[in-house]
Symmetry: D2
Subunit: 323 residues, 4 copies
Amino acid sequence: MIVAMQDTATEEQIQHVIEHLVRMGFSVHRTTGERQTVLAAVGARIDFDIRNLEVLNGVQQVHRISEPYKLAGRGFRPDGTVIEFSNGLKIGADEVVVMAGPCSVESREQLFTVAELISKAGARVLRGGAFKPRSSPYSFQGMGEQGLKLLREAGDRFNMLVISEVMEISQIPLMLPYVDILQVGARNMLLKRGIAATLEELLLSAEYIMAGGNYDVILCERGIRTFETYTRNTLDISAIPIIKKLSHLPMTSDPSHGTGRRDKVAPMARASVAAGADALLIEVHHDPDKALSDGAQSLFPEQFRTLMDELRMIAPAVHRKIG
Amino acid sequence: MIVAMQDTATEEQIQHVIEHLVRMGFSVHRTTGERQTVLAAVGARIDFDIRNLEVLNGVQQVHRISEPYKLAGRGFRPDGTVIEFSNGLKIGADEVVVMAGPCSVESREQLFTVAELISKAGARVLRGGAFKPRSSPYSFQGMGEQGLKLLREAGDRFNMLVISEVMEISQIPLMLPYVDILQVGARNMLLKRGIAATLEELLLSAEYIMAGGNYDVILCERGIRTFETYTRNTLDISAIPIIKKLSHLPMTSDPSHGTGRRDKVAPMARASVAAGADALLIEVHHDPDKALSDGAQSLFPEQFRTLMDELRMIAPAVHRKIG
Amino acid sequence: MIVAMQDTATEEQIQHVIEHLVRMGFSVHRTTGERQTVLAAVGARIDFDIRNLEVLNGVQQVHRISEPYKLAGRGFRPDGTVIEFSNGLKIGADEVVVMAGPCSVESREQLFTVAELISKAGARVLRGGAFKPRSSPYSFQGMGEQGLKLLREAGDRFNMLVISEVMEISQIPLMLPYVDILQVGARNMLLKRGIAATLEELLLSAEYIMAGGNYDVILCERGIRTFETYTRNTLDISAIPIIKKLSHLPMTSDPSHGTGRRDKVAPMARASVAAGADALLIEVHHDPDKALSDGAQSLFPEQFRTLMDELRMIAPAVHRKIG
Amino acid sequence: MIVAMQDTATEEQIQHVIEHLVRMGFSVHRTTGERQTVLAAVGARIDFDIRNLEVLNGVQQVHRISEPYKLAGRGFRPDGTVIEFSNGLKIGADEVVVMAGPCSVESREQLFTVAELISKAGARVLRGGAFKPRSSPYSFQGMGEQGLKLLREAGDRFNMLVISEVMEISQIPLMLPYVDILQVGARNMLLKRGIAATLEELLLSAEYIMAGGNYDVILCERGIRTFETYTRNTLDISAIPIIKKLSHLPMTSDPSHGTGRRDKVAPMARASVAAGADALLIEVHHDPDKALSDGAQSLFPEQFRTLMDELRMIAPAVHRKIG
């Protein structure tokens, strides 16, 4: 950590800062120049709050030198994490994995219809929500455990893995028998980037899970909130190359939630692959006009097939392929 | 709801939209002008997603006419909600209520020291966190139930109500015996405005709780995320008069979390009262340099006393008083 | 325009709004339902400020139905604008046009070195700044007219058109003899999207120029300001498909200014083409470490050549080609 | 400047960075620790671009230690700048100066009516726009020089100074005979904070003007662009105490443009004074419903008088007074 003192800082103020740093467990190196004093603090702690120093008298600026995360950082696994599933599918390797399916599981007929068509088009993972807490208390809230059972059955039938979203900790035991990938949603800001989360905060969330012993973490960009209101959120495509540089974890993109509008999903899916995404999450419905949730951002079957063909053309430009 | 069709919309497209609206349960009034057709849809439903109409062919714009919330709206209680507690304290009435205390409960000695001094300065509600999920997994995580017991004891001793934050649903039964006001935090975006939540979303969250039967809801502005990085968040003071106009619910402000820096808490607390806040949430610590969490945004005791005196001078300008 | 009155609006308030609309030159159609009254105002004016209605007593919401722009709208030229230059180059047609060059013109040697290499790699337009107003008053401010002369000479020598940025109106006569495309910059928010400009505002700026008689307008996404600070701005790739739908004007992308970092330029250039951009603006320098401005976002020659090869692989997926 | 190298940086990379720093004119102090090397660069230059270092191989982070501005910094004049006008009025001293008037000068009758009423209520400076470039090319564009003459005449008649906005450099000679304070607007981001400008950028703009020899600079907060759309912009009240700490320059607030809605102007004006503003800019019109521009954000005369009374009650809480 670097603490730059103000030009006008007194010796007493400088000593106070040094004592504070020492009490926190740091070794302090002091450089006093013509105009100002700079303190370099070295030590093993990564859990301090730099604002505690910023508000001390005489302090001009404080900069953290070490990153606040370590397990999630690129340095922990320079070659990148590849997550391999029991059926041999890998995320983080050559193939850009497409995860698709409806927003919500609505019925057996709906789910199997969609699962069959996306499987034929090349999707490798089936997505679908069983619990749907909605902005309005007056909307459809999901099928619950029955939805989970249908997902597992459809995934097995059409040879796809299954991903579904956890809403709170108490749901995890219920979900484990049915689901291959637990999606931890924007609502509680863990693995999907929250709509107001910086990339550093996204990596800190991953660090939380990894510190608990689970290293198979996948990150996902799903749109951030900006002043532009034409789309629900602004899908931050630049997050993809940035995360790939900072971290070894696989990075995916969700153009369905990231734009909220069907006609923008395909261009942003293409852009995500062109920018280096490891996987995509895409909502598809066999009859979006009648979907119980998020129909407006679900692709029609034919749109999904066309998109997959386009992605197959783009992937080689980034030395990847599509399943 | 108003659906404006494009100039170039065909009669077939217009009919398709009308059928869609009728299927959703609306009555449709059609106006065809020189250049375009406008459809007005009238009905009782408030839980539809207007994006389902926006993506239909031939549609130019869709506007919701009725607000998506009703219980939280000003019209539901034009005179404003006043919440009265068992000890006679009212929030939403003449008095601007000050809720203060440390970020975390750290020990009996710390809590009682702070509670006594804020009580003497005029605070009416004691705040303090028992569960502290932190950005970094390597930081202090709170005292848990033991912290709740201390809060209750200190509140009773110094004649203050107690407020503490709920982190997940399963904690509520544990908290009810100890706490007078459950604070539902920014993390799960219920009553404190999330850092990326619009004011409409804040009111929809209140609507959720009210639809469940609990009408004693208090709203709180605590800073939104913007491009400015000097403060942790940007405390949106304009949210105070806006919410007071749109809704009957009491509106409070949290300048401690909203700025994240001790030296900005007092000016923003004064500004909040000048803009019409019903209550304030302020972090105070008897020795902030040694606080286990958020010391940088905690006021020193003397700063808190001075601030209370300033607030007493400002409140009459908005026809209010301070306890 | 649609004016929705509050449930509690009095007949007097409704009449006041109607009179206001009539005075503004609108015809008013009134619909009074069970709960509220809605007024539809029809007329030819497009230059009114809807806030004048929003603040009238009894008004709940006001929505503009017609777009505030007409010349810039897609409806004005449904097939899209194609701009053809004297040398036969077209922007808005099949080819994705790459405009490249250094941030600033620094010397004859620098400009000719860069111009030759980008021309060989497939760039069609030479870019370079002659006037460089900088954030800091202590930085290099550009070569002025001498820079313009060098640009013209290098463009002619290597068979490229020339684009350069206008800083204020009085510079235009000076620039016209030398430059094929006048770039109107983010600083004065005309054709490049300002970093805080909505897409509607970008289209209104185009409308301004078109209302003055110049229909050869090209739009450019160059990054918006968000809370994320890892990159200087967030390049809003979704602006590309949105503008292509709303407007007939060619839409380009500037990944150099949009990210501010050399290592993010290539992924975002690829993503721009994949999302449907008509052209790209890319900064290239033969020795970026010694560049007098923006060296950090300038590509090395070899990076530019590799990028062009990648773009040639991606363009066919969107039915385009690269020169 | 501090350059932290990556854990994995090679000695060659470190040497390359050192050479780069030396070529830029810095002296370099190197500290090599157990895990990483940190370089401290010391020197007089303040006009470098730290991104040139960030993109070098092996570099993890770069931090500027000295502020990029010096004339605008608090240290340049620790007691704060007080600007005194020929009639004895001071900005930056005890009195919070209220500058008020219509958005545009529309006619002699309109201007004199408004000038008289605000003067009687306590305003010290008359504001009014003569040039009004509008978002839409189809709106009223201002009275030009004739408007300037009327402002001067009205200011002299009612004993107020005159402030008006410069749109481009070529207008300055025209304005100097008539105007006491030149307002340099958000459009060209000089002294009013641009809607996407950080506070550091605002101070750098001031630095530009001060480096040119004019030290009588006043800063103004007028709203920043955020995701919230209820108000046109979000007035960042926290900018007031922040600027007062960082800089010696007077800091004002414009709640009219900052909210865009008449009913929010008074609460935000009160909040601005409570937060420490040196002056306020407020739009007032004797008949806002008929204003040619920005009527929706103009106060009625009676609202302005009431507001002035409220401000007189609040000012003493921050040891200030109102004229």
